[in-house]
Subunit: 778 residues, 2 copies
C-alpha cells in the first residue's frame, strides 16, 4: 500500500475558512482556522492582548500490527479541511454538592469546528488478474470543540465513530500553547510518577537552566522526561501583568498531560537528559508490531525540527502537550466515539480571577450520581502525624525481614511497642475529635502488611481487611459512633493496583459493615503492573474505577499520590479530596518554602481540592520528636490555610497534646466551616499572598483567611460583603508583632470585637505568617 | 561502594565438595559440585551414558534503585561455596482426583545442596571524621534441591529468607542443560505470546537454520526472541537412542521458561534476529533506576562470550534457560522465602517411558483443595466448530463499526442472522448431548461484546454476565438440566486481564446461579496491561488467581491460550484442561501435519491435559462450508485421539449432523471413558506412532487407541493386561484398507469379537490414521 495523503490535498485545495468568537463579555477572543498545511490552528487574546499566539492542534498516532487498525498509519496532524463550523451560547446555574459557592454559573460561547482529513491509498485489487493498483479513498472526520469563557477557554478533540477512525493508539498529543512572551512561570518538573516537588519560579527561558537543580532540590523527582518538561496546572504571569494558567479538565480515561517547552537553544523537544539516577529515559514502544515511529511519509515535511516527531515545531515560548506513557511508551488506546480531556487556558489581568474561576469545574460533566445525600464535608484528625514525624510506626512488628500475608499468625507476633494504630491511642484521638467537634478520625497502619509495604515490587502487599491484633475494629468503630464520631478508613495500595482491585469489593464491604463512609487511598512507590506510571491512561482509569466502585458503597474517596485532579469531582462528588502535590508531610521531610501555600491555590488547586492536612501548631518537630525538620509557618498562618486552601475535607493534623497547648488558637479550627455558600477572593498574588472571605454554608457567618510568603504582608479587608443589617462578633487570630515562621512561629494574638458591613480590617501578617478571622452574626 | 567479590574468594579458597546420587533403581546418576569459579554445576547420566554434561546453574539479578534492595547488585551466579549437603529418599503412593492411573508412585532420592556466597563491600563509615572505607561482610545462602527419579531429575533453586537476600529482581535465570550430542529435537520457536505453532523436527545444530522458516511456516508466531530460542517441553532423541525431555514443574508465581541454544556459529545467546514483522526485539528494562545490565565487576570474567551476559557460556548443544519478560523486560520479582519452579530432565531408552512418566506431577505439591467432590471428568460437545469453520458468528450484529458495552440497548440491535449461540441452536446441541450421554454443552458467543472483541487494545471488552438477546440463559440451563446435561460456560477475556479480574466474582456468581460448573477461558490477542506477555510471572499469577477464585465457587477451569501447564493440576485439580498448543481449530485455519498428534503427547501433554477438541469426522470442511481447509486425519484416527491425547475433558467437536452420518463410529465416542484406573503405553515413537491401553475408572473395561503419522503403522497389541478370568466384547474401529488422511479419510471398519488375556491384536493404521478398541468385560 502506498500512502498518498498529499496528492489529494493538491487536487482539492484547502478552503481557508476561519472562525472568530468572543466570550460573553467580550474580553476573550478566540480564532480558529486550518493553515496552509491543513493543520488546525488557534489563537487567543484577552482584552486585545495576545495570550496564545497561533498554535497547532493535532495528534500523532502509533502504527499497529493489526490489519484492522491500519487507519492508524495516518496521523491526525495535517491534511485537514474545515468542513463545518457552529457557534452557540450556553448559560446555566448549577449547584455543586459541596464547594466554595452554593451555585456556579456556567456561561460560555461554544465554537465547534468539524474537520475532514481525506486521503487515498493505492492497494492491490482483489482480482489477481487486474493490472496495477486500485485507488481507495478514505476520509476521517474529527471535531475540535472550543468553549470561550470570560476567564479563559477550553478545547478538546472529539472523534466520532466512523469507518476510517474506529480504534487508534496515540503516540503523542500535539496541542500547542504558544506564549506571547518570556513569562514568569511557577512550575514543577514534568514527571510521570510524582507531583510532590517544590515549585520553581523562573522565566520560561530559564526553565532549562533550572531544571537539574529543580530535580535535585530537596525534591522527590522520580521519572522526568525532558529538561523543559513541566506539569500542569502551570501558572504564569506576563511582563505586562496578565495571569495565564494552563491545565486540563475532565481527564478520565486518558493520560495526564504535561507541557514541554520548545527548547530555545535547540529548537527541539525531548532533548536528551544528562546523567542522573532520578532521570527517566523515555521508552520506545515495545509491543511487537506496534511502532511509535512517525509514518515515514510525514518525515519529509520540510522544516521538521523535532527529534521525536516529523512535524514542524513552532517558535520558542511554545508549550507542546506531552502525555504520560504506559509501560510500552504509548500514550493512549482509543475507541471512537470518544474525546480528549479539555485543555484549558485561563487568563485575567487580576490574579484573584485565577482563584475564583470555575472554568475547570464547568467543563466537567454534571453529577453522575443519583443519590448524593451521603456525601458530606468533613473535618478530621488522625493517627498519622506522629508516624510521619517518626515517633511511631505504621507497622506492628520488627521481627521479620519481610512478610507474606498468608504465612503469618499475627496473634503470635512480637509487637514493636510503638505501633500507633492501637486501641488506646485511637481512642485518645476519638475522644479528642468528639470533644472538639471533628467529624472523623483517620487511622493509618490499622491493617496488616506495613512491615515491608513500599518499593519492594511486592504485589500482594495488603489485603485491606485484616486489622493488626491491637486494633479492635469493631470496638473502635462502636466507641467512635457512641461519641458521634466516625473512623476514616485508610487503604495504602503501595501502587500495587492489581492487588487493590482484587480486594476492593471486600474492602468496601468491610467499611460498610463497620460504618466507615470515607477512605483515604495511597499510591506510594512504583506502579504494579511494573513499567506503568502514576498518570498514564490505565492508571487514570484505575483511580476512576475506585471512585465509581466506592460510590456504589456510599464511600467518599480521598486519593493520595493519585493523578492531579481535573475537576472530575463535579461528576463524581464522592471524590472529596486528592493529595497530588507536596503536602504537609514534607514539613517532616525537610520542610517546604514559606511561599508554598501561596502558590498551590494557583496551581494544584485549580483541578480540585487538596487534602493538604494543615494545622501544624508545634512547627519545630524536635520539640517533641527526634526529627530536626520544621514547618516554615506561624500558628496564625496555619489557621489561615483552612480558608486559603479550599477543601471539603480538612484535617487538624497536629497531635491532640499539641493543640491542647494552644487551645485558644485551636478554637478557630473548632469553629471554621468546610463548606461554603459564598467565597470572595480579596487579595492575591502568586507566591506572595492570598486573602479570601467565605460564608459558611447555610449560615450568616463569615470566615476570612490570609496567608503570605516569607516577606510578610499587610492585608486590607473591606467588610463590604457582610449583611448590612447585621452585627458580627469578630475574632481575629493574627501573628504577634514579632512573629516569624522561623524565629517566633508560635506568637499570635487573639482580638475580639464587634464589626459591621463597610468597616475595614487591616491585619499584619508576619514573614511566613497569616491570619484568620471568624465573623459570627449576632 | 566498591564490589569486592573476588577478593574474598582468594582469601578463602573454595572447598571442592561434591555430591553424587543415584535414582532408586540406579539408572540415573546425578553429580553436583561447585566449580573453580564458585559456579554451581551438575551432570546427569542414564545407565552410564551422559545425558547432561557439566552445566552451570545460577541467576542474574537486575539492579534496583531502592537502597533497601542494594543486595540485588550481586548476581547469584558465582562465588559460591558448598556448605552443606543432604541426601534422603522418599517413596509414597498418592491418588490423583482424576488422571491416567488411579494411583501414582512418587519415589525419588533427594539431594539438597546449601550454597553460600560471601562478599565484601567497602562503604563510607557513618562517622564522617573517620578515614577511608569500612569493610562490610555479607553472605547469602541459596539451596539447590535435586530429586532423582528412575525416569529423570528435577531441580529447583530455593531462596531462604535472610538479611542479604530478601527481595530481588531476576534479570535472567541461567540454568544450563548441556546436551551430549547433536540430538534430534521436536521444537516450537520460543515465543512470549503463543504456543500454537507446528512442531519442527531437526537436529539441534539445525535449529538456527530452520528458525525463520519455522516462524513463517503457516504458523502463528507473535513474539520470538532468539533464532535458537525454543519452547519446553522439548522432546529430543539422541543418535544412540536416548529419549530426553526438558520441561518444568510447578511454575506458579514465576515466568515460564524457554530454552535458548548456545549458537554454534556465534557461540552466543540472543543473536539479533533478522527483520520480520513477527519477530520480537527484546526490550531493555525501562523502570527508572532499575537496570538489567550485568554488574560491571563481572564483566571482567575471562572468557565471557554472551552478548547479553557477562558470564562465560558453555559449549554448543547447551541450552540456557530464558524466562518470559514483563513489560519492562525483567523476568521476575521475588521475595524470600521462595523458590523457582522445578526444571525437569526426563530420560529413557524407551520412548514409552516419556509418556507414562509422572515426574512432573510428582514434583508438584499435593492437592490444595479440601473438597474435590465437585470436580469430575467431562465429555462435552459445543456451539463452537461451526463458528471456527466460518459458518456462523460469535457476534450478534454487524451494525456497528465498534461497540461500547454500556452504550448499547441490545434488544434494539439488528441481529446478523447467523449468530450461533441462539436458543434454537443451543437446544439442538443439548438434545444431542442428552441423546449421546455427553455431560456438558459448551456455548461460545453467548455474551455481549463479540462485535469487536479481538486485537483492538480494548480493555472493557466483555462483562461476562450479559447474554445476547437470543440466548435465554435461564431457559437454556433449565432445559439442559431437565435432560441431565449442563451448559459449559465460556469466558473469552481477549487477554484484557484487568477487565476479567474486575468482573470475575460476578461472573462466577452468575455461573453458580444458573448451575454451570465449568468454564472455558480464553486469552486471545495482546495482553492488557499493554506490554506484558502471555507467559510472564504476572500472567502466570493471573491464571492461577482465576483457578483459585474458581475453586471457591466450585468451578472447573479449562484455560485456552494460557501458559503451558507444568503439572499444577495436581495441586489445583479444578484446572481440568488447557489449550496451550496448536489444537483442532487449526484444522480450519490451514490444517496441521498428520504427525502433530503423535508429537503432542511427548511435548505439550507432559505438563498436563490438553483440551485438544478432537473428533472431526467430516475432515474436508468444504463438504459443509466455504472453508477450503481440511483435517489431516482419518475417522479411525480421530477416535484414537480420545485415548492417545489424555484429558479428563474430552470434546466431541464436530457437528451433530456430521456425527449422525457416521453413527456407528460415533458409538466409540459415546462409549469411551475419560477417567482411568490404569494406562499402559504399548508402543511409542515421537512423531511416528503412539498406542495406549487404558482401563476405565471403576470398571473392568479397557479402551485402546493407536495413532500414527503420515506413513501409517501396524500396531501389535498384546492383551496381556486383561483380567485373566474374564472375556471381553471387543469392538475394533480401524482404518479401512484403502483409508488415507487425504484421499479416503472416512473409510473405516468396525469389527466385533470376543477376546481374552494373552491374545494379540494386529491392527493396520492408514497414513494419518489410527484405531480405537473398546473391550467391555462380559
Amino acid at each position: 500500500m502506498k500512502r498518498n495523503l498529499f496528492l489529494s490535498l493538491l487536487l482539492a485545495p484547502l478552503c481557508a475558512m476561519a472562525g472568530t468568537v468572543q466570550s460573553p463579555n467580550g474580553n476573550i477572543e478566540l480564532k480558529f482556522y486550518v493553515d496552509n498545511n491543513g493543520r488546525p490552528t488557534y489563537e487567543m487574546s484577552y482584552k486585545g492582548r495576545p495570550v496564545v499566539l497561533p498554535s497547532h492542534l493535532g495528534l500523532e498516532l502509533a502504527r499497529d500490527k493489526h490489519a484492522s487498525l491500519k487507519d492508524r498509519e495516518h496521523d491526525l496532524m495535517d491534511g485537514f479541511r474545515l468542513v463545518n463550523e457552529k457557534t452557540s451560547t450556553f448559560d446555566e446555574i448549577w449547584r455543586p454538592v459541596w464547594g466554595e459557592t452554593a451555585t456556579i454559573r456556567n456561561n460560555y460561547v461554544e465554537y465547534v469546528a468539524t474537520l475532514s482529513q481525506p486521503w487515498e491509498d493505492k492497494v492491490k485489487p482483489e482480482d489477481p488478474t487486474a493490472d496495477g493498483l486500485k485507488l481507495v479513498k478514505h476520509e476521517r472526520e474529527i471535531i475540535i470543540r472550543f468553549r470561550v469563557y470570560d476567564d479563559g477557554i477550553g478545547f478538546r478533540y472529539e472523534f466520532p465513530q466512523q469507518k476510517d477512525l474506529n480504534y487508534f493508539l496515540i503516540k503523542e498529543e500535539r496541542s500547542e500553547f504558544a506564549m506571547a512572551g518570556d513569562h514568569t512561570a511557577w512550575w514543577l518538573p514534568g514527571d510521570y510518577d510524582t507531583q510532590e516537588q517544590e515549585t520553581q519560579e523562573t522565566k520560561l527561558s530559564e526553565i532549562r537552566g533550572r531544571f537539574r537543580e529543580a530535580v535535585n532540590w530537596g525534591n522527590s523527582s522520580v521519572a522526568v522526561f525532558s529538561p523543559t518538561g513541566v506539569q500542569t496546572s502551570l501558572q504564569m504571569k506576563s511582563q505586562d501583568g496578565l495571569y495565564i494558567n494552563i491545565h486540563e479538565a475532565a481527564c478520565l480515561d486518558y493520560a495526564t498531560m504535561h507541557l514541554e517547552l520548545v527548547d530555545a537553544e535547540t529548537k527541539t523537544l525531548s532533548t536528551k537528559l544528562d546523567g542522573n539516577s532520578n532521570i527517566y529515559t523515555p521508552v520506545p514502544a515495545t509491543i511487537p508490531g506496534v511502532s511509535a515511529t512517525a509514518p515515514s511519509a510525514s518525515a519529509t515535511v520540510p522544516g521538521a525540527l523535532a527529534s521525536g516527531s516529523a512535524y514542524p515545531l513552532p517558535k520558542p515560548f511554545t508549550f507542546v502537550s506531552h502525555l504520560t506513557p504506559d509501560a510500552t511508551g504509548l500514550k493512549g488506546a482509543m475507541q471512537t466515539p470518544c474525546e480528549t480531556p479539555w485543555r484549558t487556558v485561563m487568563v485575567s489581568d487580576d490574579a484573584r480571577d485565577m482563584l475564583s474561576s470555575n472554568l475547570i469545574l464547568n467543563l466537567n460533566e454534571p453529577c453522575a450520581l443519583d443519590d448524593v445525600s451521603w456525601i458530606h464535608p468533613t473535618k478530621y484528625c488522625g493517627v498519622w502525624w506522629e508516624m510521619i514525624v517518626g515517633r511511631g510506626s505504621w507497622h506492628y512488628t520488627n521481627d521479620y525481614p519481610s512478610i507474606k500475608l498468608d504465612q503469618i499468625d499475627w496473634t503470635k507476633v512480637k509487637p514493636n511497642g510503638y505501633h500507633k494504630a492501637n486501641n488506646e491511642n485511637v481512642k485518645r484521638y476519638i475522644d479528642f475529635a468528639a470533644k472538639n467537634g471533628l467529624d472523623e478520625v483517620l487511622v493509618e497502619g490499622w491493617n496488616v502488611g506495613w512491615e515491608d509495604w513500599a518499593n519492594m515490587w511486592k504485589r500482594d502487599v495488603f489485603d485491606f481487611v485484616t486489622p493488626y491484633p491491637d486494633f479492635d475494629i469493631k470496638m473502635l468503630n462502636d466507641y467512635a459512633h457512641s461519641k458521634g464520631v466516625k473512623l476514616l478508613m485508610h487503604h495504602e495500595t503501595s501502587s500495587s493496583t492489581q492487588n487493590y482491585e482484587r480486594h476492593i469489593e471486600k474492602a468496601f464491604q468491610l467499611m460498610n459493615k463497620y460504618g466507615y463512609d470515607a477512605v483515604k487511598t495511597g499510591y506510594v512507590g512504583d506502579i504494579i503492573p511494573r513499567g506503568d506510571h502514576h498518570y498514564s491512561q490505565s492508571m487514570n482509569n484505575h483511580y476512576l474505577y475506585v471512585v465509581k466502585e466506592a460510590a456504589k458503597h456510599h464511600i467518599m474517596v480521598n486519593a493520595h499520590e493519585a493523578t492531579r485532579p481535573t475537576g472530575i469531582c463535579r461528576t463524581y462528588p464522592n471524590l472529596v479530596g486528592n493529595e497530588s502535590a507536596r503536602g504537609t508531610e514534607y514539613e517532616a521531610f525537610g520542610g517546604s518554602r514559606p511561599d508554598h501555600t501561596c502558590i498551590l491555590p494557583f496551581t494544584r488547586l485549580q483541578g480540585g481540592p487538596m487534602d493538604y492536612t494543615p494545622g501544624i501548631f508545634v512547627t519545630k518537630l524536635k520539640e517533641w520528636s527526634d526529627n530536626p525538620s520544621w514547618a516554615r509557618i506561624t500558628i496564625a498562618g496555619s489557621l489561615a490555610l483552612y480558608l486559603t486552601m479550599y477543601s471539603p475535607l480538612q484535617m487538624a493534623a497536629d497531635l491532640p497534646e499539641n493543640y491542647e497547648k494552644f487551645d485558644d488558637a485551636f478554637q478557630f479550627i473548632r469553629d471554621v466551616a468546610c463548606d461554603w455558600d459564598e467565597s470572595i477572593y480579596l487579595e492575591a498574588e502568586p507566591a506572595d499572598y492570598i486573602t479570601v472571605a467565605r460564608k459558611a454554608k447555610g449560615t450568616p457567618n463569615w470566615f476570612i483567611g490570609g496567608k503570605c510568603d516569607e516577606n510578610g504582608h499587610e492585608a486590607v479587608v473591606r467588610l463590604d460583603f457582610l449583611d448590612k443589617d447585621k452585627k458580627y462578633d469578630c475574632t481575629i487570630y493574627a501573628d504577634a508583632k514579632d512573629a516569624h515562621y522561623d524565629t517566633n512561629p508560635q506568637a499570635y494574638t487573639i482580638t475580639k470585637k464587634v464589626v459591621k458591613a463597610g468597616q475595614t480590617l487591616k491585619i499584619k501578617e508576619a514573614p511566613g505568617g497569616g491570619f484568620a478571622v471568624s465573623l459570627i452574626a449576632q
